[in-house]
């Protein structure tokens, strides 16, 4: 018997990561803000007097006030209700798209790296092909085709042009990971290949995948904003932060500047917060990052 002395007990990996994460106050602040954005976007309208479809005939082009927190548009729509509705879209697009994009990258990259040979060459060819295609243009051209149908197709399309570089990184990580002895151990036990990928390879790059997903959240939100700004992507009557900014960008610098500044500033703050969370996660998951060690 090998008795384990009491002091050799360590914290589990998850707890250690959490502790390291909590030590980064900026990341914690970012997480808090993202949670706050969610709460406002989804719960806010329930407690707010105005809905985004409602018109207030008594106030057009009103500056922010107690009645209309972010002011009103020239048609009498309430800016706060619109912004919250837009934020709902943007958050969903960012999160669903990021999970989708990182998921495709993980599966394609790990399969290519693990099986090598012609599987690898085919997938690399696909990745390289998608990399040279102008994604923005293609989505722009395709957007009238599914106009009016679900905007979820749009999320899928955004993700489809987002995963390639991550997939290449996942592939090269798999190449080194599959030479590790625990992978051999599983193979020699007789574990099927797809199970090895799901059970051993992907969990061992989870830190990278988590980080990639958080970065994707912000870049997908921005991509959607970019497309919607040019009139593609989310189409009226749906609203996203992008369409809002598109509708009101001319107000910037005028007396009605609030119509532009509220959605724009919120967008910047949202993306910034998601990035803060991503940074914090990266440092917390990387045991080599020197953070918070008492000096």
């Amino acid at each position: 018997m090998t008795p384990v002395p009491e002091n050799s007990r360590h914290d589990s990996r998850g707890r250690l990561v959490l502790r390291r994460f909590l030590r980064r106050w900026l990341a914690v602040f970012g997480l808090f803000m993202v949670a706050l954005f969610f709460a406002f976007a989804y719960l806010g309208p329930d407690f707010y007097k105005w809905s985004y479809t409602q018109l207030d005939y008594a106030s057009f082009m009103q500056a922010p006030s107690a009645a209309h927190w972010f002011g009103t548009t020239q048609n009498g729509f309430d800016m706060f209700a619109l912004t919250m509705r837009g934020m709902q879209k943007s958050l969903i697009i960012g999160l669903v798209g990021a999970v989708l994009s990182t998921g495709i990258a993980a599966i394609v990259g790990a399969t290519a790296g693990y099986f090598a040979g012609w599987t690898d060459r085919t997938m690399i060819a696909l990745i390289d092909l998608l990399l040279v295609l102008p994604g923005f243009l293609i989505i722009a051209i395709l957007s009238p085709v599914f106009n009016g149908r679900t905007w979820l197709i749009f999320v899928v399309l955004l993700a489809a042009f987002q995963w390639m570089i991550t997939a290449r990184v996942v592939r090269s990580m798999t190449l080194s990971l599959k030479e590790r002895e625990f992978i051999y151990a599983a193979r020699f036990i007789g574990v099927p290949n797809w199970k090895i990928i799901l059970r051993h390879i992907l969990p061992n790059m989870s830190s990278f995948l988590v980080i990639d997903a958080t970065i994707n959240v912000s870049s997908l939100i921005l991509a959607e904003v970019g497309l919607s700004f040019f009139g593609f992507g989310v189409q009226p009557p749906d609203i996203s932060l992008g369409t809002l900014i598109n509708d009101h960008w001319q107000a910037a610098g005028t007396a009605n500047g609030y119509q532009f500044y509220f959605p724009a500033v919120l967008l910047v703050v949202l993306v910034l917060c998601v990035n803060l969370v991503g940074d914090g996660l990266r440092d917390a998951l990387d045991p080599n990052a020197e953070i918070g060690a008492p000096r």
Binding site: T2, S8, R13, F182, I189, G190, R199, N204
Partner: protein, 704 residues
């Protein structure tokens, strides 16, 4: 400068040195009060396991610790205090008066400059000489450390050098400025034994050429026994025993030293030497208990050991050089206790008398002329073959039920390729693999899956062989789940397995990183046993473990073999372990088996020159024998398996070919590949592949 006085004054004096690092878990006390002196021209060995503080203390001497380290105490070199000096001041001493040889020669050389340039740079930094003169000196140094064609090789880049040659270049750089002190931090750990013997020879040369004192840091007691004058044993950041080599080796007065020496399998005596494993693991340096740090593992522990940490005090008379830090060292001295008296001897040696004769037992593994060649290809799209790596080139062996075959050889000899071929269970390029009566050539998918149940593997590196993201229970459940053991049965089996390998079933929910190296290796063994296999392939199962842990794992393997009637294919480069655990041994060189037979026959009277050299290269942890030995030093490095020499593959390094044979007889070595021929009596199965095989008792001439 106070040098050049006739009274012996210590060259380096370390007094009460302590080093600690802040970490997540708390302050790590890496070194806690280390004192030693090095006299000019003396060799001091510092021995310890990983985490004992031996490397950290030498980095402190060099002033190379990271800035967050807290260092206290005093380090005086030639009477001048080194601690607290600026990096710039230290730089004028480092590489000039004190130099260092690191463990990993690949990362110690810059890949983008030639070796000659790097040595010349080391000269030019400290001396006002021209570039030309410095380069000449570099060539001179490379020749001194035994690099052939030094002028040509000085223009080579580090990646063009083999590991052994890089380490030679490192030594050349270390002695470039005629230092007074060389600190060698595990200089041979990353190298093969035959190369290790070469490097130790070079260190002797370097010492004679410069007259420098050497601080030799290592975990290998054999290296220390033959090389050092004095030795300090470290445990948990503290010196626990120090003295002249003979005193420490033959009259150890600290239980840890006794245990360390007792847990080493001995090459010269084999199974007759009982191994005394030290239970448990080295303590964590974060929250050290107040008493003696060794007390939890010490069989001689008494109540005072847990209360106060013993001081390092002279063993016999005050002022004497041999000191030990143990409350009971007086008692050990008085009764002259040895490791067998102090530590419980594991009775794991099986009796082979009641076994069926070897020929009547069924073979669990049979290799017949197994060949594995890799094609060397060039080009990304238009692939063409530019050569062939003859990784495994026709080997035949068999393992009978209940038998352990040791497969030994240096890195690059093809041992790993061989076991990967066996474990892969696919049809070999040529030859035959028969596992448990099933030929892999004609086997179907489901049949192969069934064979996997009967054969399992334990890997070398316990850190890499367990998935870090999985709790132990999941790791052990994987083979059970894969082979359809119902869930209710699984948890019972997991608990049983953990107990079998000496771990507690409560540990099942922990992750691998919560265990020490030895414990992880036990988990790896438990996983291999999960499906009750008949054959276990053990790929260097103890070489990555600390010395004190090894014996426990070796004894566990012995016990399991008897308990579950297992057969082992034991791959190793450490011949002492093979001698202890194996029934038969096969020696590989460049993809061929050069000698095979009963382990005692082969080790007592090796017939192949390579086996002789291999046995002779291994240092024995016994200073008298070690000094008396005549060592066979092989020339050069292992040739590339892509371009093996014609005829006998060993002839380019063979001492017999070079020194004993005349030209006429050499013809045969060059022209004709030797085959395995029976040595000894007609009923012996000891065979060697050498045209001029002749038994030579390499170990005998020192044993008596």
């Amino acid at each position: 400068m106070t040098s050049m006085t006739s009274t012996p004054e210590p060259l380096l004096e370390v007094a009460n040195l302590s080093v600690s690092f802040p970490s997540e878990a708390g302050t790590v006390a890496a070194v806690r009060g280390l004192s030693y002196r090095v006299m000019p021209g003396e060799v001091l060995g510092i021995v310890g396991e990983s985490g004992s503080g031996k490397s950290v203390s030498s980095l402190a001497v060099m002033g190379l610790l990271p800035r967050r380290a807290r260092v206290a105490g005093s380090i005086r070199f030639r009477g001048n205090e080194m601690l607290g000096r600026t990096d710039k001041e230290l730089s004028s001493i480092r590489g000039n008066k004190i130099s260092m040889i690191f463990q990993d020669p690949l990362s110690a050389l810059t890949p983008v400059y030639t070796v000659g340039d790097q040595i010349a740079e080391a000269v030019q930094i400290h001396r006002d000489v021209s570039r030309k003169a410095a380069l000449d000196r570099a060539v001179e140094l490379l020749a001194l450390v035994g690099i052939p064609e030094a002028t040509k090789r000085a223009a080579a880049f580090p990646h063009e050098f083999s590991g052994g040659m890089r380490q030679r270049a490192m030594i050349a750089m270390a002695i470039a400025n005629d230092p007074d002190l060389i600190i060698a931090d595990e200089p041979t750990t990353a190298l093969d034994v035959t190369i290790q013997a070469q490097i130790i020879e070079v260190l002797h040369t370097a010492k004679n050429a410069t007259g420098a004192a050497i601080v030799m840091i290592t975990h290998d007691l054999g290296v220390i026994a033959g090389f050092a004058d004095r030795v300090t044993v470290m445990y948990a950041g503290k010196p626990v025993e120090t003295g002249a080599v003979d005193d420490v080796f033959y009259r150890s007065r600290m239980p840890y030293t006794l245990g360390l020496l007792g847990s080493l399998p001995r090459l010269d005596v084999g199974k007759r030497w009982p191994l005394t494993p030290i239970e448990g693991d080295p303590p964590s340096l974060v929250h050290l208990p107040s008493g003696c740090p060794f007390s939890p593992r010490c069989p001689m522990r008494v109540e005072i050991c847990d209360r106060t940490e013993p001081e390092l005090v002279p063993v016999r008379a005050p002022g004497e050089a041999h000191s030990a830090a143990c409350h009971r060292s007086g008692e050990i001295e008085e009764k002259n206790l040895s490791s067998i008296d102090v530590f419980p001897v594991a009775q794991a040696i099986e009796s082979t008398a009641d076994r069926l004769p070897r020929e009547q037992r069924p073979a669990v593994l049979e290799l017949v002329d197994l060949v594995k060649h890799y094609a060397l290809v060039k080009g990304a799209i238009m692939r063409r073959q530019v050569g062939t790596v003859y990784a495994v080139d026709g080997i035949s062996l068999d393992i009978r039920e209940g038998e352990t075959l040791g497969l030994v050889g240096e890195s690059g000899c093809g041992k790993t390729t061989t076991i990967m071929e066996i474990l892969g269970l696919v049809r070999p390029a040529s030859g035959k693999i028969v596992v448990l009566g099933k030929d892999t050539a004609g086997i179907s998918g489901p049949e192969r899956f069934e064979v996997r149940r009967e054969m399992s593997v334990v890997f070398q590196d316990p850190m890499a062989s367990l998935d870090p993201k999985m709790p132990i229970a999941d790791i052990l459940a994987e083979p059970l789940q894969t082979h359809g053991v119902p869930p209710s049965e699984r948890s019972r089996r997991i608990a049983e397995l953990l107990q079998t390998v000496g771990l507690r079933p409560e540990h099942a929910s922990r992750y691998p990183q919560e265990f020490s190296g030895g414990q992880r290796q036990r988990i790896g063994i438990a996983r291999a046993l999960a499906l009750q296999p008949k054959l276990l392939v053990l790929d260097e199962p103890v070489s990555a473990l600390d010395v004190s842990i090894r014996a426990g794992v070796i004894n566990l393997l012995q016990k399991l073999k008897m308990e579950f009637h297992l057969s082992y294919l034991f791959v190793a480069h450490d011949l002492s372990v093979v001698r202890y655990i194996a029934d038969r041994v096969a020696v590989m060189y460049l993809g061929k088996i050069v000698e095979i037979g009963e382990v005692d026959e082969v080790f007592d009277l090796p017939a192949h020159p390579y086996t002789q050299a291999l046995l002779s290269a291994i240092p024995l942890p016994d200073p008298h024998k070690e000094r008396a030995r005549r060592r066979i030093i092989l020339r050069g490095d292992l040739p590339s398996p892509a371009d093996p020499p014609s005829g006998c593959r060993f002839r380019t390094r063979c001492q017999k070919f070079a020194d004993e044979l005349d030209d006429r007889r050499r013809e045969r070595c060059i022209g004709e590949q030797p085959v395995l021929a029976v040595q000894g009596g007609p009923d012996s199965d000891h065979r060697a592949a050498c045209h001029y095989a002749q038994g030579y008792a390499v170990l005998k001439d020192v044993a008596e």
